[in-house]
Protein backbone atom coordinates (compact mmCIF):
# COMPACT_ATOMS: atom_id res chain seq x y z
CA UNK A 1 0.00 0.00 0.00
CA UNK A 2 1.26 3.43 -0.86
CA UNK A 3 1.76 5.82 2.01
CA UNK A 4 1.67 9.57 1.67
CA UNK A 5 4.81 11.11 3.08
CA UNK A 6 4.08 14.08 5.28
CA UNK A 7 6.53 16.89 4.70
CA UNK A 8 6.69 19.74 7.19
CA UNK A 9 6.62 23.12 5.48
CA UNK A 10 9.83 24.25 7.18
CA UNK A 11 11.52 20.88 6.87
CA UNK A 12 15.31 20.86 6.77
CA UNK A 13 15.66 24.55 7.50
CA UNK A 14 17.88 25.91 10.21
CA UNK A 15 19.23 29.37 10.77
CA UNK A 16 21.62 30.86 13.24
CA UNK A 17 23.10 34.32 13.20
CA UNK A 18 23.74 37.27 15.47
CA UNK A 19 22.50 35.59 18.66
CA UNK A 20 19.32 34.19 17.11
CA UNK A 21 18.62 30.55 16.27
CA UNK A 22 15.60 29.47 14.23
CA UNK A 23 14.56 25.85 14.15
CA UNK A 24 11.41 24.21 12.80
CA UNK A 25 9.40 22.22 15.34
CA UNK A 26 9.06 18.49 15.02
CA UNK A 27 5.68 17.14 13.97
CA UNK A 28 3.24 17.13 16.87
CA UNK A 29 -0.46 17.01 17.66
CA UNK A 30 -2.39 20.25 17.83
CA UNK A 31 -5.97 20.82 18.93
CA UNK A 32 -7.99 24.00 18.89
CA UNK A 33 -10.28 23.53 21.85
CA UNK A 34 -13.40 25.58 22.56
CA UNK A 35 -15.36 24.68 25.65
CA UNK A 36 -18.03 26.00 27.97
CA UNK A 37 -17.36 26.17 31.72
CA UNK A 38 -19.15 22.89 32.43
CA UNK A 39 -16.82 20.94 30.16
CA UNK A 40 -13.51 22.33 31.42
CA UNK A 41 -12.96 19.96 34.34
CA UNK A 42 -13.74 16.85 32.30
CA UNK A 43 -11.54 17.95 29.43
CA UNK A 44 -8.68 18.65 31.81
CA UNK A 45 -8.98 15.16 33.25
CA UNK A 46 -9.04 13.57 29.80
CA UNK A 47 -5.99 15.47 28.62
CA UNK A 48 -4.15 14.95 31.88
CA UNK A 49 -3.68 18.56 32.98
CA UNK A 50 -5.88 21.38 34.25
CA UNK A 51 -6.82 23.84 31.50
CA UNK A 52 -5.49 27.28 32.51
CA UNK A 53 -8.19 29.80 33.34
CA UNK A 54 -6.05 32.88 33.79
CA UNK A 55 -5.58 34.96 30.64
CA UNK A 56 -2.23 34.50 28.93
CA UNK A 57 -1.11 31.50 30.96
CA UNK A 58 -0.44 27.89 30.09
CA UNK A 59 -0.04 24.56 31.80
CA UNK A 60 2.28 21.73 30.88
CA UNK A 61 2.57 18.08 31.89
CA UNK A 62 4.32 15.15 30.22
CA UNK A 63 4.97 17.14 27.08
CA UNK A 64 1.33 18.14 26.72
CA UNK A 65 0.83 21.89 26.73
CA UNK A 66 -2.48 23.74 27.06
CA UNK A 67 -2.38 27.45 26.28
CA UNK A 68 -5.08 29.95 27.18
CA UNK A 69 -6.05 31.76 23.99
CA UNK A 70 -9.46 33.21 24.82
CA UNK A 71 -12.09 33.00 27.57
CA UNK A 72 -13.36 29.71 26.09
CA UNK A 73 -10.51 28.78 23.81
CA UNK A 74 -7.34 26.77 24.33
CA UNK A 75 -4.54 25.63 22.08
CA UNK A 76 -3.49 22.15 23.13
CA UNK A 77 -0.43 20.50 21.76
CA UNK A 78 1.27 17.18 22.46
CA UNK A 79 4.01 15.02 21.00
CA UNK A 80 3.10 12.90 17.98
CA UNK A 81 1.41 9.66 19.06
CA UNK A 82 -0.23 11.00 22.24
CA UNK A 83 -3.69 10.50 20.78
CA UNK A 84 -5.17 13.77 22.05
CA UNK A 85 -8.25 13.53 19.84
CA UNK A 86 -9.17 10.07 21.10
CA UNK A 87 -8.65 11.18 24.70
CA UNK A 88 -10.85 14.25 24.30
CA UNK A 89 -13.48 12.24 22.43
CA UNK A 90 -14.35 10.40 25.66
CA UNK A 91 -15.53 13.56 27.41
CA UNK A 92 -19.34 13.61 27.58
CA UNK A 93 -19.97 16.48 30.00
CA UNK A 94 -20.78 19.94 28.68
CA UNK A 95 -20.47 21.43 25.24
CA UNK A 96 -17.10 21.66 23.57
CA UNK A 97 -15.47 21.49 20.19
CA UNK A 98 -12.05 20.02 19.59
CA UNK A 99 -10.62 20.50 16.14
CA UNK A 100 -7.36 19.03 15.04
CA UNK A 101 -5.40 21.84 13.40
CA UNK A 102 -2.34 19.74 12.92
CA UNK A 103 -2.28 20.05 9.17
CA UNK A 104 -3.07 23.76 9.18
CA UNK A 105 -0.41 24.83 11.66
CA UNK A 106 3.27 24.52 11.87
CA UNK A 107 5.73 25.87 14.36
CA UNK A 108 9.24 27.01 14.93
CA UNK A 109 11.39 27.85 17.90
CA UNK A 110 13.38 31.01 18.12
CA UNK A 111 16.09 31.14 20.73
CA UNK A 112 19.25 32.95 21.65
CA UNK A 113 20.21 36.13 23.41
CA UNK A 114 18.73 38.30 20.66
CA UNK A 115 15.52 36.28 20.20
CA UNK A 116 13.41 38.92 21.94
CA UNK A 117 14.85 41.67 19.75
CA UNK A 118 14.18 39.70 16.59
CA UNK A 119 10.58 39.02 17.63
CA UNK A 120 10.05 42.62 18.67
CA UNK A 121 11.02 43.76 15.20
CA UNK A 122 7.63 42.49 14.00
CA UNK A 123 5.67 42.07 17.20
CA UNK A 124 5.00 45.19 19.30
CA UNK A 125 4.24 43.23 22.47
CA UNK A 126 6.23 43.81 25.64
CA UNK A 127 8.24 40.59 25.85
CA UNK A 128 10.12 41.44 29.04
CA UNK A 129 10.17 38.67 31.62
CA UNK A 130 7.95 40.58 34.03
CA UNK A 131 5.12 41.00 31.51
CA UNK A 132 5.63 37.89 29.41
CA UNK A 133 7.29 35.33 31.73
CA UNK A 134 8.27 31.76 30.93
CA UNK A 135 5.03 29.88 30.25
CA UNK A 136 3.17 32.96 29.02
CA UNK A 137 1.33 32.55 25.76
CA UNK A 138 -0.86 34.60 23.49
CA UNK A 139 -2.18 34.90 20.01
CA UNK A 140 -0.62 37.97 18.43
CA UNK A 141 0.96 39.25 15.23
CA UNK A 142 4.43 38.99 13.76
CA UNK A 143 4.47 41.61 11.02
CA UNK A 144 1.47 40.60 8.87
CA UNK A 145 1.09 37.04 10.10
CA UNK A 146 -1.07 35.86 12.98
CA UNK A 147 0.85 33.61 15.36
CA UNK A 148 0.63 32.02 18.76
CA UNK A 149 3.60 33.00 20.83
CA UNK A 150 4.67 30.84 23.76
CA UNK A 151 7.68 31.47 25.94
CA UNK A 152 9.42 28.19 26.69
CA UNK A 153 12.48 29.67 28.35
CA UNK A 154 13.97 33.04 29.18
CA UNK A 155 15.57 33.18 25.76
CA UNK A 156 13.40 30.75 23.83
CA UNK A 157 9.99 31.06 22.24
CA UNK A 158 7.72 28.77 20.32
CA UNK A 159 6.01 30.43 17.36
CA UNK A 160 2.95 28.68 15.93
CA UNK A 161 1.56 29.88 12.63
CA UNK A 162 -0.49 28.70 9.70
CA UNK A 163 1.62 26.54 7.43
CA UNK A 164 0.99 28.82 4.45
CA UNK A 165 2.42 31.73 6.48
CA UNK A 166 5.39 29.79 7.76
CA UNK A 167 7.74 30.71 4.94
CA UNK A 168 6.93 34.39 5.47
CA UNK A 169 7.36 34.18 9.25
CA UNK A 170 10.64 32.30 8.87
CA UNK A 171 12.09 34.77 6.41
CA UNK A 172 10.83 37.75 8.37
CA UNK A 173 12.53 36.49 11.54
CA UNK A 174 15.66 35.70 9.59
CA UNK A 175 15.80 39.26 8.32
CA UNK A 176 15.03 40.56 11.79
CA UNK A 177 17.80 38.46 13.27
CA UNK A 178 20.37 40.07 11.00
CA UNK A 179 19.70 43.46 12.54
CA UNK A 180 18.70 42.31 16.03
Amino acid sequence: MANALRIQPLEDRVYGNNGVILQPLEACERISLRAEDKAIAGLGKAIGLALPKKPGTSSEKNGIIAMWIGPDEWFVTAPEGTGLEAKIDKVKTGLYSAVSINHRNTGLTISGKNAVNALNSGCPRDLSLTVFPVGACSRTMIAKAEVILYRTDEQEFRVECWRSFSDYVWKYLMDAARSA
Partner: protein
Protein backbone atom coordinates in the same frame (compact mmCIF):
# COMPACT_ATOMS: atom_id res chain seq x y z
CA UNK B 1 1.53 52.72 18.93
CA UNK B 2 -1.94 52.94 20.39
CA UNK B 3 -2.52 50.51 23.22
CA UNK B 4 -5.99 49.11 23.76
CA UNK B 5 -7.08 47.38 26.94
CA UNK B 6 -8.78 44.06 26.23
CA UNK B 7 -11.28 43.33 29.03
CA UNK B 8 -10.99 39.59 28.38
CA UNK B 9 -7.19 39.35 28.22
CA UNK B 10 -7.02 41.90 31.08
CA UNK B 11 -4.05 43.53 29.42
CA UNK B 12 -3.07 46.48 27.23
CA UNK B 13 -2.38 45.19 23.75
CA UNK B 14 -1.07 46.87 20.59
CA UNK B 15 -3.72 48.20 18.20
CA UNK B 16 -2.47 45.85 15.46
CA UNK B 17 -4.32 43.02 17.18
CA UNK B 18 -7.69 44.79 17.07
CA UNK B 19 -10.40 45.49 14.59
CA UNK B 20 -13.03 48.22 14.92
CA UNK B 21 -16.59 46.99 14.45
CA UNK B 22 -18.81 50.08 14.40
CA UNK B 23 -21.21 51.67 16.83
CA UNK B 24 -22.10 49.76 19.99
CA UNK B 25 -25.38 49.31 21.84
CA UNK B 26 -27.61 49.04 18.79
CA UNK B 27 -30.60 46.95 19.75
CA UNK B 28 -31.77 44.56 17.04
CA UNK B 29 -35.56 44.93 16.64
CA UNK B 30 -37.53 41.87 17.70
CA UNK B 31 -40.18 42.45 15.04
CA UNK B 32 -37.80 42.64 12.10
CA UNK B 33 -40.32 41.35 9.54
CA UNK B 34 -42.89 44.01 10.42
CA UNK B 35 -40.57 46.98 10.09
CA UNK B 36 -41.23 49.54 7.37
CA UNK B 37 -38.43 50.16 4.91
CA UNK B 38 -37.70 53.50 6.58
CA UNK B 39 -37.47 51.99 10.04
CA UNK B 40 -35.29 49.19 8.78
CA UNK B 41 -32.99 51.65 7.10
CA UNK B 42 -32.73 53.57 10.38
CA UNK B 43 -31.80 50.45 12.31
CA UNK B 44 -29.53 48.95 9.71
CA UNK B 45 -27.66 51.83 8.09
CA UNK B 46 -28.09 55.07 9.99
CA UNK B 47 -25.43 55.67 12.61
CA UNK B 48 -24.89 58.63 14.93
CA UNK B 49 -21.30 59.27 13.83
CA UNK B 50 -20.85 61.68 16.74
CA UNK B 51 -17.91 63.98 17.05
CA UNK B 52 -16.82 63.54 20.62
CA UNK B 53 -17.46 60.66 22.97
CA UNK B 54 -18.50 57.54 21.09
CA UNK B 55 -19.34 54.01 22.17
CA UNK B 56 -17.95 51.44 19.77
CA UNK B 57 -17.65 47.72 19.29
CA UNK B 58 -14.15 46.37 18.91
CA UNK B 59 -12.88 42.91 18.29
CA UNK B 60 -9.64 41.49 19.61
CA UNK B 61 -9.24 39.71 16.30
CA UNK B 62 -5.62 38.61 16.61
CA UNK B 63 -5.83 37.92 20.32
CA UNK B 64 -8.64 36.27 22.22
CA UNK B 65 -11.04 36.81 19.32
CA UNK B 66 -13.70 38.44 21.50
CA UNK B 67 -15.94 41.39 20.76
CA UNK B 68 -16.08 44.04 23.45
CA UNK B 69 -17.19 47.65 23.76
CA UNK B 70 -15.20 50.80 24.21
CA UNK B 71 -15.86 54.42 25.11
CA UNK B 72 -13.58 56.62 23.05
CA UNK B 73 -13.14 60.18 21.86
CA UNK B 74 -13.54 60.32 18.09
CA UNK B 75 -11.30 63.36 17.65
CA UNK B 76 -8.40 62.62 19.97
CA UNK B 77 -8.81 58.84 19.38
CA UNK B 78 -8.11 58.27 23.05
CA UNK B 79 -9.86 55.43 24.83
CA UNK B 80 -11.66 56.16 28.09
CA UNK B 81 -12.43 52.58 28.98
CA UNK B 82 -13.27 49.22 27.50
CA UNK B 83 -15.81 46.78 28.88
CA UNK B 84 -17.11 43.34 28.09
CA UNK B 85 -19.85 42.80 25.53
CA UNK B 86 -23.25 42.65 27.16
CA UNK B 87 -22.34 45.05 29.95
CA UNK B 88 -24.26 48.30 30.29
CA UNK B 89 -22.99 51.55 28.81
CA UNK B 90 -20.76 52.93 31.57
CA UNK B 91 -21.49 56.32 33.11
CA UNK B 92 -18.50 58.50 32.37
CA UNK B 93 -17.26 60.98 34.89
CA UNK B 94 -16.32 64.53 33.96
CA UNK B 95 -12.74 63.76 34.90
CA UNK B 96 -12.59 60.77 32.56
CA UNK B 97 -13.96 62.81 29.67
CA UNK B 98 -11.63 65.72 30.26
CA UNK B 99 -8.66 63.37 30.23
CA UNK B 100 -9.28 62.41 26.59
CA UNK B 101 -10.17 65.79 25.16
CA UNK B 102 -8.21 66.82 22.06
CA UNK B 103 -5.93 69.84 22.33
CA UNK B 104 -8.08 72.96 22.55
CA UNK B 105 -8.55 74.91 19.32
CA UNK B 106 -5.43 73.81 17.53
CA UNK B 107 -7.09 72.92 14.24
CA UNK B 108 -10.74 73.22 13.22
CA UNK B 109 -11.05 69.43 13.34
CA UNK B 110 -10.02 69.45 16.96
CA UNK B 111 -12.64 71.90 18.11
CA UNK B 112 -15.20 70.21 20.26
CA UNK B 113 -18.74 70.65 18.96
CA UNK B 114 -20.35 68.93 21.91
CA UNK B 115 -20.75 69.60 25.58
CA UNK B 116 -20.91 67.31 28.56
CA UNK B 117 -24.50 68.42 29.28
CA UNK B 118 -25.58 67.37 25.79
CA UNK B 119 -23.90 64.02 26.22
CA UNK B 120 -25.78 63.39 29.46
CA UNK B 121 -29.22 63.67 27.80
CA UNK B 122 -28.88 60.44 25.82
Amino acid sequence: MLKIHCPYCEEDRPELEFHGAGEAHIARPTNMAELSNEDFEKFFFIRDNDKGIVFERWRHLHGCGRFFNAARHSVSDKFIKTYKAGEKKPKLTKKEIEAVLPPAKSTPANEAVWTIEKEGKK
